[in-house]
């Protein structure tokens, strides 16, 4: 087994690279990570938490895709009936599982490039108490978002109250902190992500070097 430094890869990098240039907006950033892996700069470390999120993301993508393919003339009651049908369920399961299998096939066939978190790994409760400690000392930001249609992405206004936007709290969250602490626990030298909210994480709290990969012209 080649001894390259370990880099914990966030789910956004893994899924973006597997989606490819034509389907993910940040693919070129993810691609650079894997080019570095090929050059031996580091080996990819994958946790079961990242793989769980990957599967969940694929199921969500598949659901949206099947939903978008539905004709525009269903009532809520008809949509409920459709969503509960075995045909709809099978479509989503088949698509997401096929995609997940493809990813698993690739990441399990070269241990020099991909290292899976050892099955006997045990995490201390300390991970979660540390996570709570970090979260409690950091507060995120507020953002204002326009309402959008989930199907066609057009902007919406509420017919009753007239509002067309909302205030949302944005911050690193428990899953983010847990990823970074797992990266620490399995002794990864780097933690790589494309999620800009990780730039707000107090990096001095972690042994792993947290790197937020963004567009070159991004602030």
């Amino acid at each position: 087994m080649i001894k390259s430094p370990l880099a914990y890869i966030d789910a956004n990098i893994l899924v973006s690279y597997a989606l490819g240039a034509e389907k993910d907006e940040r693919f070129h950033i993810a691609k650079k990570v894997f080019e570095d892996v090929l050059q031996g700069k580091y080996a990819v470390a994958l946790s079961h938490l990242v793989l769980s999120e990957t599967l969940h993301a694929l199921r969500n993508i598949a659901t949206k895709e099947v939903f978008k393919g539905i004709e525009n003339k269903y009532t809520q009651g008809e949509l409920i009936k459709l969503a509960n049908s075995s045909a709809f369920r099978k479509k989503v399961i088949d698509r997401s599982l096929e995609a997940f299998k493809t990813i698993i096939e690739c990441i399990t066939s070269n241990p020099d490039h991909f290292r899976i978190e050892p099955p006997e790994t045990h995490y201390s409760e300390k991970i979660f108490s540390e996570g709570l400690n970090i979260l409690s000392r950091n507060f995120g930001i507020f953002r204002v978002y326009r309402y959008r249609c989930r199907k066609c992405n057009s902007y919406l206004n509420c017919d009753k109250c007239g509002f067309n936007c909302e205030i949302a709290y944005k911050s690193i969250n428990a899953p983010d902190i847990t990823h970074a602490l797992i990266s620490d626990s399995i002794k990864c030298e780097y933690f790589l992500t494309m999620d800009k909210y990780f730039s707000k994480i107090p990096k001095e709290e972690f042994k792993t070097k947290i790197i937020v990969l963004q567009e070159k012209n991004a602030s």
């Binding site: 597997a18 389907k23 940040r26 894997f34 993301a57 694929l58 997940f100 070269n110 978190e117």
Partner: protein, 123 residues
Amino acid sequence: MYFPDFSSTLENLDLRKTGASILEKNLDFLRGIYKHFMENISPITTTGLVLETYLEHCTPKEITPEMSEYLSRMTLRTLVGLPSININTKKKDAIKKLEGSISWITKEKIDVTEFIREMRESE
């Protein structure tokens, strides 16, 4: 180091139940009993049962990083119904194969980073 291909044996075992047990044992021991069983016992389901029984009674020894890594990979493959692979398998083109391999799952271009961010925030 040569490691026998257990793929046919594993097909007849519940990997998640026995995988950890198998890899907690010494490789030399495994090689010996594997060879003995393959030469002296059939059908293969019986081989599996006898192997499992023997392993339950042997002393756990150190797991090498390679064995641990192999168990992780095999467990994942079993979970999604992929066939077993040899411990020495190293497909050098795995990274290239991964690139764009699931592009078919969506017709539109998406921002998966934002997508996963929303997922995490709704958890």
